[in-house]
């Protein structure tokens, strides 16, 4: 892998199972030291893509190179240069912390002279000093998670694949985990995190949105927010909500309107109602307006918007 080639490069990556296309001509590029989020609902093709990138599945079409090795032709070399953390953390509950680390060190063939130092590093990263001989199954979620990460990087891989790494973990632990990820990235490791939880994407440098096996959009979180909405998002506090929704749903310039909690979220596009005109518009229809405030779209809103547009285009074509 030369210094400026990407850590992961996929071009037209495709995988078909009989008549079902799980991954459809995916292009992906991850630079060294980057954290890329692979975001999409369950069944969108994330796991299949990762399996191909790990050299576990042969692509039906297209190519991918990981750490400079072709996944189709050099899967063994690929596997020696990646670390993988699976959803359920793959730790052995009936072994101790130390025993788990030793096991994975053996699997990844960590050189003997490096072993001690790597194990110490992993233990301190997880915060498990003094608890090396504790059975893993007695640890709470966040600790297991960090330990699993430690096990995945014992052999200093330049590339890391994390599959739903924060499922079932407390918010504080999750934030600590993401700090670790960013530290690793600062050291030059390229990291691909796959998750169905949209808000996780905020922690990534760039996001690849996947739906139905296809790449829907790619960019930084801010870029995606700006691109997707087709307008500005406002939060409207009004009563009664149902009537307001009906009234606005068909109004000029309203790209989208939906109830959110006790308020209304609407997206106003060009050439129609403006935010200032809203209170009067609603008052005319006997709806009491409390406030109209600009709001930040969540990544879930972004995803839904982008996916609907893509699905519409696909259906029309």
């Amino acid at each position: 892998m030369s210094p400026d080639s990407p850590a992961v490069l996929a071009e037209g990556l495709t995988k078909r199972f009989a008549s079902f296309t799980a991954v459809d001509h995916l292009d992906l590029r991850i630079e060294k030291g980057e954290v890329v989020g692979f975001i999409g609902p369950n069944g969108a093709g994330k796991s299949t893509t990762i399996r191909m990138l790990c050299g576990l599945l042969r692509p039906s079409e297209g190519r991918a190179s990981v750490a400079g090795f072709d996944v189709g032709r050099q899967p063994e070399e690929v596997r020696e240069h990646i670390g993988y953390m699976s959803q359920k953390f793959s730790l052995y509950g009936d072994l101790t912390v130390r025993e788990n680390l030793r096991f994975f060190a053996g699997i990844y063939r960590v050189p003997h002279h490096d072993l001690g130092e790597r194990m110490r590093f992993a233990i301190s990263m997880a915060g498990l000093e003094g608890r090396e001989d504790v059975l893993v199954r007695t640890l709470a979620g966040g600790w297991k998670q960090r330990l699993a990460l430690g096990c995945a990087i014992l052999h200093r891989p330049p590339i890391l694949f994390l599959d739903e790494p924060t499922s079932g973990v407390e918010p504080e632990a999750r934030r600590r985990f993401w700090d670790l990820i960013h530290e690793l990235a600062a050291g030059g490791v390229a990291i691909l995190v796959s998750t169905h939880y949209m808000e996780e994407a905020e922690y990534c440098n760039r996001i690849a949105l996947i739906d139905g096996g296809r790449l829907v959009a790619m960019g930084t979180p801010s870029e995606l927010r700006q691109r997707s909405l087709g307008g500005d998002l406002f939060e409207v506090d009004c009563v009664p909500l149902g009537a307001a929704l009906k009234a606005l749903g068909s109004a000029q310039g309203v790209v989208e309107a939906a109830i959110f909690g006790d308020k209304l979220h609407i997206v106003l596009g060009q050439g129609g109602l403006s935010a200032e005109e809203l209170p009067r518009f609603l008052a005319e229809r006997e709806i009491r307006v409390g406030s109209v405030r600009p709001a930040t779209p969540s990544l879930e809103d972004v995803f839904v918007r982008l996916v609907s547009t893509t699905r519409e285009t696909r259906a029309a074509s």
């Binding site: 709470a140 079932g168 504080e172 808000e199 440098n205 996001i207 979180p221 879930e300």
Partner: protein
């Protein structure tokens, strides 16, 4: 602006449950108003499912009192089941039965007369967009469709109180949105909904929240009030070098926390007015030129971490 507070649909007092030596639920008090969407929010292991199961009369509490629609759930569990409807995390769908057969089965169990069952099932299936699939086996449905079917089965007998345990876990965002549209519709019709979720951002869609941690309710209020209760103010500092920005601001006076995101840093400060210029200077000192500081609206997770944030070493 709040709707008038109606009568209390679900009242809980002193609810507790232990499993062996583990105290899963500790002395919980709740009051859910009629027509509310009430959220039990907390990470895995906080006790959400245990509480939901006790409310649904599927699990017996060690102590405490639960009143649903005026019925004592603990003393008259079977009678209470007629007033409520429960959708557990695993949906309870019979994979080897069709959509229609599943709905009919649950309808019969709740004593819905045949004619009404047919009409109501038609209505619900149409609203959920599942009518063309009524002869499909439940095992062949996608995650989102299963979720809708689960909800329909729970609604077939027109309950007044709906209990949903983590209903949108693993479901794609488009389906989740449809799901919430259905919930809001129900709310308009006067149904009281109690749901549990580990997704902090989903919690924002509820009328009121209870933040659950370690089996206890630590805070209970509307999302807005909870955000207002969060100590300090939240700032978003956008930059192409977020790591460097965080380095620059960490530990500075008045900084209560700095969270590294993908393309910005979320910083919690004690006093925005005072600290913004200070931070701006600190960042410029580090040679970072592209940082932009804006006030940010805290999410429920920010609130949760700020109010509760301690991590436990072992399972409680």
């Amino acid at each position: 602006m709040m709707a008038e507070v109606n009568e209390i649909a679900v009242r809980v007092h002193g609810l507790s449950k232990s499993f062996g030596s583990v105290r899963a639920v500790r002395d919980i008090d709740l009051a859910v108003a009629q027509g509310e969407i009430f959220g039990l929010v907390g990470p895995d292991g906080a006790g959400k499912t245990t509480i939901m199961r006790m409310l649904a009369a599927v699990l017996r509490p060690d102590a405490g009192e639960i009143l649903v629609d005026g019925v004592d759930v603990v003393a008259e569990a079977e009678r209470a089941k007629l007033h409520l409807s429960y959708m557990p995390q695993r949906f309870g769908l019979y994979e080897d039965l069709t959509i229609a057969e599943n709905i009919f089965f649950y309808g019969a169990l709740f004593g819905v007369p045949r004619g009404e069952r047919i009409a109501r099932s038609q209505e619900l299936l149409e609203a959920a967009g599942l009518l063309p699939f009524r002869r499909r086996l439940a095992g062949q449905l996608s995650g989102g469709m299963k979720q809708k079917l689960g909800l329909i089965c729970a609604l077939i007998h027109t309950p007044r109180v709906l209990l949903l345990d983590e209903p949108t876990t693993g479901v794609d965002p488009v389906s989740r949105r449809d799901f919430w549209a259905i919930l809001y519709n129900l709310r308009e019709g006067g149904v009281t909904i109690v749901l549990s979720t580990a997704y902090m951002d989903e919690a924002e869609r509820c009328s009121r929240l209870a933040l659950l941690h370690g089996g206890e309710i630590r805070h209970c209020d509307t999302p807005q009030h909870l955000k207002a209760a969060m100590p300090g103010a939240l700032l978003a500092i956008a930059s192409a070098h977020p790591r460097d920005v965080r380095e620059a601001v960490s530990g500075k006076p008045g900084v209560l926390g700095a969270l590294l995101m993908g393309d910005r840093v979320h910083v919690r400060v004690d006093d925005a007015g005072r600290r913004i210029p200070e931070l701006r200077a600190a960042i410029a000192d580090q040679g970072i030129a592209d940082a932009v500081i804006t006030p940010a609206e805290p999410g429920i997770e920010d609130v949760f971490v700020a109010l509760l944030g301690e991590e436990k070493p072992h399972e409680p």
